[in-house]
């Protein structure tokens, strides 16, 4: 009722600004109408646009709310049983891994960024993007290659045993250390990219002041540079720790059990009560990390003085040059050359065994289909949210925006779990169709489309909207007909990001795929866990190649 009144009111409002309160409407409605406009700072959006935004927010957050809801009614029995033995162990496994990976990835990321951006390392321009390359290798693919090389029957064992004095092969990839190493090697670029960008923007003046005080280079790094880098490091650390919390493929292949794996296995054996209890704990864990991020961001505010900006100078490595070069090359070898080499080798063998056949193309087609459709849907759904947020700021549009991030922050297993619950019991018509996979991808990756779109939208002046509104267009029409054409490149870039993330996605796809509908990611997981590497490698290589698409975009963004 009130909405109707408001939309009616809005139209009047747009037409002639003067006639605000309709004299015939009752006093109460008039009061609500006034409050409503106050919420929107006198500029409420049209009903259609607002509804579109609300629907998106609802779709994005419902699966997660549903999981939390179900876990509360899982029964005291499930809670007690899990709290007693399971949760403490899982908490320890998950937290220690998350912290360890985050710390090492930060060390590698920051040191590499420093060496590559600030020193006279030979070929530094090339290293700047070579060091970002592990980003295109999904950690579960990386894990496969590490099992092939360092596994108990891997190539490394043969080498080890060829050396007479080493004795029995002592590396155990199926351990905390294996998971720790693999996750670190394929997530450090998050920190590397963000910190490199910050380093490039750093003002030289501060360093010179420090140097004039007699600070050495290493002291300058700790006292001057590092504090400046803290926001960048923090942002990278959040990305990495959230990733470790949500990873399923790599840990499952390396036989390490964290919350995500536990939830997946509980779900696979249909202990739904336990699965939802564990999910709630994981949701809380994620919230804690996000809360830490908000806290630290508030505390650390650093200002760069832009008017006296001077580019930082390049430091001479001197006698450290060989050592720095060895370090950079080592990281490159282990995080890029080794996995890609292994994939190429096994793809070649697979090619000779004719595994790249009709079946393979079927899986590739399935991957393409769900990822492309998810990209299109995400581009469409992102529009009302970003438009509302940018042109109609209020706590309602902020709420819609925040809710749209729900699936992005949380692991795929939880999104999938929520969707299985909802669709199996309430919307059975869509249960077990590939539309569910598409929806899961959209819930997981919509914010990627939003961020890219928002960046473009911020460059379009609100004056254009106003002009269109004054010609009598309702807000949703302004968005589609006037704004959309000018922000199309940004929207498409966002779609590309969603596409690539979707094609790599594993746990939600595993949990939601209907019978007979396998994607490349699912096949890579399956073939690798059956140790049929020549069948796993071509699909994995294809996923890596596709992931190269947005790398240029990412490198430009940071």
């Amino acid at each position: 009722m009130t909405d109707k009144y408001n939309s009616h009111d809005n139209q009047q409002n747009t037409g002639t600004n003067a006639k605000v309160g309709d004299s015939r409407s009752p006093a109460l409605l008039r009061f609500i109408g006034r409050r409503w406009r106050a919420v929107w700072n006198g500029n409420p959006p049209g009903l259609i646009l607002l509804l579109a935004g609300l629907v998106v927010a609802l779709i994005m957050s419902v699966p997660i709310i549903y999981v939390a809801w179900r876990s509360l009614f899982a029964g005291a029995d499930s809670w007690l049983r899990l709290l007693d033995g399971r949760i403490p162990a899982l908490l320890w496994n998950t937290a220690s891994l998350t912290i360890a990976v985050t710390v090492l990835a930060i060390s590698i990321g920051v040191s590499l960024a420093w060496i590559v951006v600030r020193t006279d390392l030979p070929g530094r321009k090339t290293w700047q993007w070579l060091m970002a390359l592990p980003l295109v290798i999904p950690p579960y693919v990386g894990a496969v290659t590490y099992i092939i090389v360092f596994g108990p029957s891997g190539w490394a064992r043969d080498l080890w045993e060829a050396v007479p004095f080493l004795g029995d092969y002592a590396l155990n990839i199926y351990s905390f250390w294996g998971v720790f190493l693999v996750l670190t090697l394929f997530t450090y670029p998050y920190v590397f990219l963000i910190v490199s960008a910050s380093l490039r923007r750093m003002n030289r003046n501060y360093e010179e002041v420090a140097r004039s005080q007699g600070y050495s280079t290493s002291k300058i790094f700790w006292k001057v540079n590092l504090p400046f880098l803290r926001p960048a490091i923090g942002a990278g650390a959040i990305l990495i720790s959230l990733y470790v919390l949500s990873d399923f493929g790599a840990i499952a292949m390396l036989r390490y059990v964290t919350f995500t794996a536990a939830i997946y296995f509980q779900r696979a054996s249909f202990d739904t009560a336990s699965a939802s209890v564990l999910s709630l704990v994981l949701i809380v864990l994620t919230m804690v990390i996000l809360w830490i991020e908000v806290r630290t961001r508030k505390k650390n505010k650093f200002y760069q003085t832009s008017n006296s900006y001077r580019e930082p100078d390049t430091l001479k490595l001197g006698k450290w040059k060989p050592l720095a070069l060895v370090y950079v090359i080592t990281v490159f070898l282990f995080s890029v050359a080794l996995p890609i080499g292994v994939l190429l080798y096994w793809t070649y063998i697979g090619f000779e065994q004719h595994v790249i056949d009709e079946r393979f193309f079927g899986f590739a087609w399935n991957s393409l289909k769900v990822s492309a459709l998810a990209a299109v849907v995400a581009m469409v759904l992102a529009l009302p949210v970003i438009y509302l947020k940018s042109r109609y700021p209020s706590f309602i549009s902020t709420g819609i925006d925040k809710l749209s991030y729900a699936g992005y922050a949380l692991p795929g297993v939880i999104v999938a779990l929520g969707m299985v619950f909802i669709f199996n019991t309430h919307i059975p018509a869509f249960y077990n169709t590939y539309y569910l996979i598409i929806l899961a991808f959209v819930i997981r990756f919509l914010p990627q489309a939003m961020q890219a779109g928002e960046a473009s939208l911020s460059l379009v002046s609100p004056r254009i909207d106003e002009a269109a509104r004054s010609l009598g267009y309702p807000p949703w029409k302004v968005m589609l007909k006037v704004i959309l054409p000018s922000i199309m490149p940004g929207v498409l870039a966002g779609g590309a990001l969603v596409f690539v993330s979707s094609i790599k996605e594993l746990p939600a796809t595993l949990m939601l795929r209907p019978p007979g509908f396998d994607t490349l990611a699912v096949r890579v997981y399956y073939e690798a866990s059956e140790a049929i590497y020549y069948q796993a490698a071509p699909g994995a290589l294809l996923i890596v190649l596709v992931s190269l698409i947005p790398l240029r975009y990412l490198l430009k963004k940071y």
Partner: protein, 378 residues
């Protein structure tokens, strides 16, 4: 509305394109069938020729069949492909499914056929009223003790639990000779230790159910806790174990006997042996289980499911069901695909009717969970 008419043409064009692709696919399928049947008997050649001529079979059966299978994909996919080729029914398979998925989906039945490697799971579903019986041709080739009362499920191949071991690392008498042996911590000290599967594995669930029948719950839980503590490797599936033992990563592993047969067929890492436990006088005998098929009650393609049940009971297809798993067919008329398999008659088996496993199924998963083996991987 008229404004959008222009959209109609590209959509129609796409539709035609899709139809074209579909037709292509069909052509290739029939071509495949032709090639396949060349290798089979002449009789079948004639049949398929007739089929092509009159299209009788195709007219009778079309559409799709949804198969949930708890078995390893490697063992089942060829069988399903064969059915698809011979009948034209499109098979949509979900591999490594859990029987409880059928329970969860009972208000919204998705599957037509459920294939399992654990009679416990099958009989449990039957007791829940989720399976549907039938009077199938050639049903008499399977002994009654390997079927549910009204053929709600039919077991087609059998297996026994036992220990695969690496002959380079240990000799036969250094491998446990009974399930009870595993209580002993000393087995943690064999070179590289031993391997078991995760508790969620169907074979492990059957194993634990059988022990509960024999020993009662308390002792069985202690046993699960003992192997959980003492095993050096806890794997997702048995295929991992046979490969790991073959490669010397572990000295021995608890698997089903046909995984030993499979490992012997490998080009390398095949110096392995197998111990059937509890064979001595007065001991409980080897733990048996079976793999079988069942028709899901209220499935979306009931007719195709019925046809599948009849089809899979043809002797040729019973063998195809055993397929690459190298299990022993239950039908005594059929030759086991693995020549050196120990004939069932020579083994001392536990005296529990397989159907009994169904009464234990649900509590067993709880017991495994309480012992903490359900989530471990190592």
């Amino acid at each position: 509305m008229k404004k959008y008419k222009f959209l109609l043409y590209p959509v129609m064009a796409l539709g035609l394109l899709a139809a074209g692709c579909g037709a292509d696919g069909d052509d290739e399928e029939t071509a495949d069938t032709g090639a396949d049947t060349d290798q089979e008997t002449e009789e079948q050649d004639d049949e398929s020729a007739e089929g092509d001529g009159t299209d009788e079979e195709a007219a009778e059966l079309d559409g799709e069949l949804v198969v949930y299978s708890a078995r390893n994909e490697q063992f089942v996919q060829a069988l399903l492909d064969k059915f698809e080729d011979e009948t034209g029914v499109e098979v949509r398979a979900l591999h490594e499914a859990d029987p409880l998925q059928l329970v969860e989906e009972q208000a919204n039945v998705q599957a037509d056929i459920f294939i399992s490697n654990d009679v416990g799971g099958l009989e449990y579903l039957n007791q829940e009223g989720l399976l549907e019986g039938g009077d199938y041709e050639n049903i008499d080739s399977i002994d009654e003790q390997y079927r549910a009362e009204n053929n709600e499920w039919i077991a087609l191949s059998t297996r026994a639990r036992g220990f695969i071991y690496n002959k380079d690392m240990v000799s036969e008498d250094e491998v446990p000779s009974s399930m009870e042996d595993l209580f002993d911590e000393e087995w943690a000290d064999v070179p590289n230790g031993y391997a078991i599967t995760r508790g969620g594995n169907g074979g492990m669930i059957g194993n634990v159910s059988a022990l509960r029948y024999e020993w009662g719950d308390e002792r069985t839980q202690e046993w699960v806790e003992a192997i959980r503590d003492n095993a050096a490797g806890i794997f997702e599936g048995h295929g991992d174990i046979r490969r790991a033992v073959g490669a010397g990563e572990h000295a021995f592993g608890l698997v089903n006997n046909y995984y030993y047969h499979q490992q012997l067929e490998e080009p390398n890492d095949n110096n392995v042996g197998f111990v059937y436990p509890d064979q001595g006088e007065g001991e409980m005998g080897a733990i048996a289980n079976a793999a079988g098929v069942s028709k899901v009650s209220g499935g979306p393609n009931s007719e195709n499911a019925e046809a599948f049940m009849n089809w899979v009971l043809e002797e040729e297809n019973q063998l195809a069901f055993v397929g690459e798993s190298l299990e022993v067919p239950i039908n005594p008329e059929l030759e086991p695909p693995f020549e050196d398999a120990v004939p069932v008659t020579e083994l001392n088996f536990q005296d529990m009717p397989l159907r009994e496993l169904g009464n234990y199924f649900q509590d067993t998963t709880r017991l495994i969970e309480d012992a903490g083996l359900d989530l471990d991987l190592r």
